[in-house]
């Protein structure tokens, strides 16, 4: 399943119809700047019948009936060429409605056929058609116990496209999301403490109503990702004493074009209904951001090497709180030699609903490497046996070289991370400076 969403700098919605409906404050006159794409209809139909049906413009949908059969090649090559014009048309229309188009958010999964194949096809289209506009990709990577057999193929083929055509990728895996909601579940059901949790404050909550055990786990998991995107854009949408725009993310967190994978963490997971939050509680939020239990992929940034780190804070937090915590946590973290003070920070005054403060940490860290290494290993296990390969090779435009190129692209990336890791315990030396005549 794939989504494509465009996001303008100032307004995430455009107004449809006459001004009269604005003055009445009707939310139904706002439309998401989004294009919804799926090669089967079930999911999109569900959305269009759900509570958010008025938010999406029915003209901004692209669907088909047969689906991609969990086959990247079908999504990329077949549906790509079939729908290229239509996609371009819808994108151009959306772009026209923007005063100032700053970036695209692409949201998709890596393991399937449509999101993975057609989603990455789109990346190339966006790059060609809108070269100045940033491409942020939120990618759901397959977990270990993923039930799609061909997910390693799909993921590796998609990775090559992400390497070459994305400005910034936020990898996420379902297992980590699931672990987080399990943790919340335990807290919420733990009696006295659980009763003190403000329902709206759950990082999994969407409508503010906490539904016990009624929700499908995917809804709760998806809400975490939604909250990630909310926090990512909060400083662009709301005021603050130290703003951070989306184009600053790429600028600060991508030191070399190919190293653009960012590990994210969201804290706190919930807020206790405690009005007086002493600094110690606030500091806990910062500590948690670096713990491996709060990362949205299986990664341990604390024990790997940082190339850069961004802390996006929302709510009643001031610069001194931020500085105190950076000073406190710095000694336990390892930064690459040429970026010892590689921190990017932002302060947004408006907290998320139900919270008094929150933190989104984005790390360009070698801890992302194990995910890629595992993916490559699963790929090789399949590819060695040539299992299911014919489903791909029978698609026009697909050859074995597509696979070998994709896996070398990934190997090269892994090698870059290896080289960085090798510098981890080396002493940091200042380089000799320029000698000048006065």
């Amino acid at each position: 399943m794939g989504y494509l969403m465009t996001f303008s700098h100032v307004l995430s919605f455009r107004v449809v119809g006459d001004g009269g409906s604005i003055s009445k404050g009707k939310i139904c006159s706002l439309k998401a700047r989004a294009v919804l794409i799926d090669m089967e209809e079930g999911v999109v139909n569900e959305i269009l019948q759900g509570p958010l049906r008025d938010v999406f413009d029915s003209k901004q949908l692209i669907t088909d009936i047969s689906g991609s059969g969990n086959n990247w090649a079908v999504g990329h090559k077949v549906f790509g060429s079939l729908y290229q014009e239509k996609i371009l048309e819808k994108l151009r229309k959306s772009a026209e409605h923007c005063d100032c188009l700053q970036c695209f958010f692409i949201i998709h999964s890596m393991g399937g056929g449509t999101g993975s194949g057609l989603g990455t096809f789109l990346l190339k289209v966006l790059e060609d058609e809108f070269p100045e506009v940033y491409r942020f990709v939120t990618s759901i990577y397959p977990s270990g116990e993923d039930d799609v057999i061909t997910s390693p193929y799909n993921s590796i083929l998609a990775m090559k496209e992400l390497n070459e055509h994305a400005d910034c990728v936020l990898p996420i895996d379902n297992q980590s999301l699931f672990d987080i909601i399990s943790k919340i579940d335990v807290m919420v059901n733990s009696g006295k403490l659980g009763a003190a949790i403000k329902p709206k404050s759950l990082v999994t909550s969407s409508t503010g109503v906490f539904k016990k055990r009624q929700e499908k786990p995917f809804d709760a998991m998806n809400n975490i990702v939604a909250n990630l995107l909310l926090n990512l854009t909060s400083s662009a949408r709301f005021e603050g004493s130290l703003n951070m725009d989306l184009n600053e993310i790429s600028m600060n967190l991508v030191p070399f074009p190919q190293l653009h994978y960012l590990v994210s963490s969201l804290t706190p997971l919930y807020t206790l209904a405690d009005v007086n939050i002493p600094p110690r509680r606030l500091d806990q939020m910062f500590s948690d951001a670096f713990s491996k239990d709060h990362q949205l992929i299986r990664a341990d940034p604390r024990h790997s090497l940082y190339l850069a780190c961004a802390l996006m804070v929302r709510g009643n937090v001031q610069i001194s709180d931020l500085r105190r915590n950076i000073e406190r946590l710095k000694p336990s973290l390892q930064f690459v030699s040429w970026n010892q003070e590689g921190w990017k920070t932002s302060l947004c005054s408006v907290p998320p609903v139900g919270h008094s403060h929150s933190l989104l940490a984005l790390a360009n860290n070698t801890c992302v490497k194990p995910t890629f290494v595992e993916l490559k290993e699963r790929f090789i296990r399949l590819y060695k046996k040539k299992a299911h390969l014919h489903h791909y090779l029978q698609i026009e435009g697909m050859e074995e070289s597509c696979f070998s190129e994709a896996v070398s692209s990934l190997s090269a990336l892994i090698q870059e991370y290896n080289q960085l890791d090798a510098t981890k315990s080396m002493p940091v030396e200042d380089l000799p400076r320029l000698n000048v005549a006065v």
Partner: protein, 398 residues
């Protein structure tokens, strides 16, 4: 004589507001500790420098607000208007929607040329409102993209178009431990470009002001607002009116008239010793010091200690290097207050740190693709490094 302030980027605009607020509040302070006539002269002088008159009597700040995204300017305008006592001109702002992405190259090479005409027009309109222009006060940070890059571009333009007016840039040095990861790159590019077009760089370091808030003012949870207000207080105490000289009856006309140009002796500088920054700078050698005294006993205070030759470099006589301005009129309810503006070696260490960190990062070529994308090449970086190493060396050799 009037000063036109140009506020650039989030930092520039946030600070600019606090500065005008501090200036206005001080000039309307009831307890000036001086005669009514004195107070009125002070007020009138302050007004002429920083505010122009609007029809309904509300003073308008002589300022142009520039930012590449709208949120901060909107906030700044409404904060000023809310106070009811002074405000910014409605049409004194230039705003875009997309920001500069912390990218000096984007601010300098893209926004600069693209918006040159609009911004310079706004400045021209403000200049035309002045009976007599003393100069420009440009407020910007070094770490970001707009203040730093666009600020450097605008300053260059001001140099071209108003070469006889003084240009003083108020630069904010970022915290040593990151606000912006590429802050050191942005800083060296800013400083090297400003060196060629600005007359004076007035520097405030966030770390230093933060310490003031923490240690001297005992503020527990320090916000940028606190920091900006301390800054504004310091700037106000430098820019508010003072007397021209001993026995003068009029407030000094040129508020920026500090003799910024210090010339080494015609016979040339003494031979250079082997210079290295690692040598302990035991004494902070100055080229120029300005002391500003306000309030009770300002005229009788003894400033002899500032005339000690040991404070100054060997090729300068204290009489050429030291100046004192005074007024009996107290500043913001402080019975006595003093300000020191100093051109000395105290900034060498921070500058050296920034250059060092930028150099280490440059050696790895990290982030360079973000700059070359917009036309700032490795050569431009090398030029900047060279210029700044020369500045460091010159200061070390005082």
């Amino acid at each position: 004589m009037s000063i036109v302030t140009v506020q650039l980027g989030q930092c520039g605009n946030q600070i600019g507001f606090e500065v005008f607020d501090a200036l206005f509040n001080d000039s309307h302070c009831p307890r000036g500790l001086c005669s009514k006539k004195e107070n009125e002269a002070y007020q009138a002088s302050c007004k002429e420098r920083f505010f122009s008159e609007e029809e309904n009597g509300v003073p308008l700040a002589r300022a142009v607000l520039v930012d590449m995204e709208p949120k901060v300017i909107n906030q700044t305008l409404s904060k000023a208007a809310r106070s009811g006592r002074w405000k910014y001109g409605q049409h004194s702002c230039f705003c875009q929607k997309q920001g500069s992405g912390n990218n000096w190259a984007y601010g300098y090479s893209v926004h600069g040329p693209r918006h040159e005409e609009s911004i310079m027009n706004l400045i021209r309109k403000e200049v035309e409102k002045c009976d007599s222009l003393s100069g420009f006060f440009i407020i910007m940070s070094m770490a970001g993209g707009t203040g730093s890059g666009l600020g450097a571009f605008v300053t260059q333009n001001l140099q071209d178009q108003y070469s006889s007016a003084l240009k003083m840039n108020q630069i904010i040095w970022p915290y040593g431990t990151g606000e912006v990861i590429v802050q050191n790159y942005n800083s060296i590019l800013t400083l090297s470009h400003l060196y060629r077009s600005s007359d004076a760089l007035l520097v405030h370091e966030n770390d230093a002001v933060h310490k003031i808030c923490a240690k001297l003012m005992n503020i527990k949870q320090i916000s940028f607002c606190d920091i900006n207000q301390v800054l504004a207080h310091q700037l106000g105490s430098v820019f508010q009116p003072t007397y021209s000289g001993e026995g003068s009856f009029h407030y000094r006309r040129n508020p920026l008239g500090i003799d910024w140009q210090v010339r080494p002796p015609l016979s040339g500088l003494p031979p250079l010793g082997k210079m290295s920054v690692n040598r302990e700078i035991h004494f902070n050698t100055s080229i120029a010091n300005l002391v500003i005294l306000r309030g009770k006993d300002a005229h009788s205070a003894d400033v002899g200690a500032f005339k000690d030759p040991a404070l100054y470099t060997s090729w300068l006589e204290p009489v050429h290097a030291f100046n004192v301005w005074k007024t009996q009129r107290a500043f913001r309810k402080y019975e006595r207050s003093a300000a020191l503006v100093s051109n000395s070696q105290s900034l060498v260490k921070p500058l050296d740190r920034i250059v060092g960190k930028a150099w280490n990062m440059f050696a790895s070529r990290a982030y360079l693709h973000q700059y070359t994308k917009f036309g700032i090449e490795e050569e431009d970086f090398l030029d900047s490094f060279t210029l700044l190493e020369q500045v460091i060396a010159s200061y070390c050799n005082l």
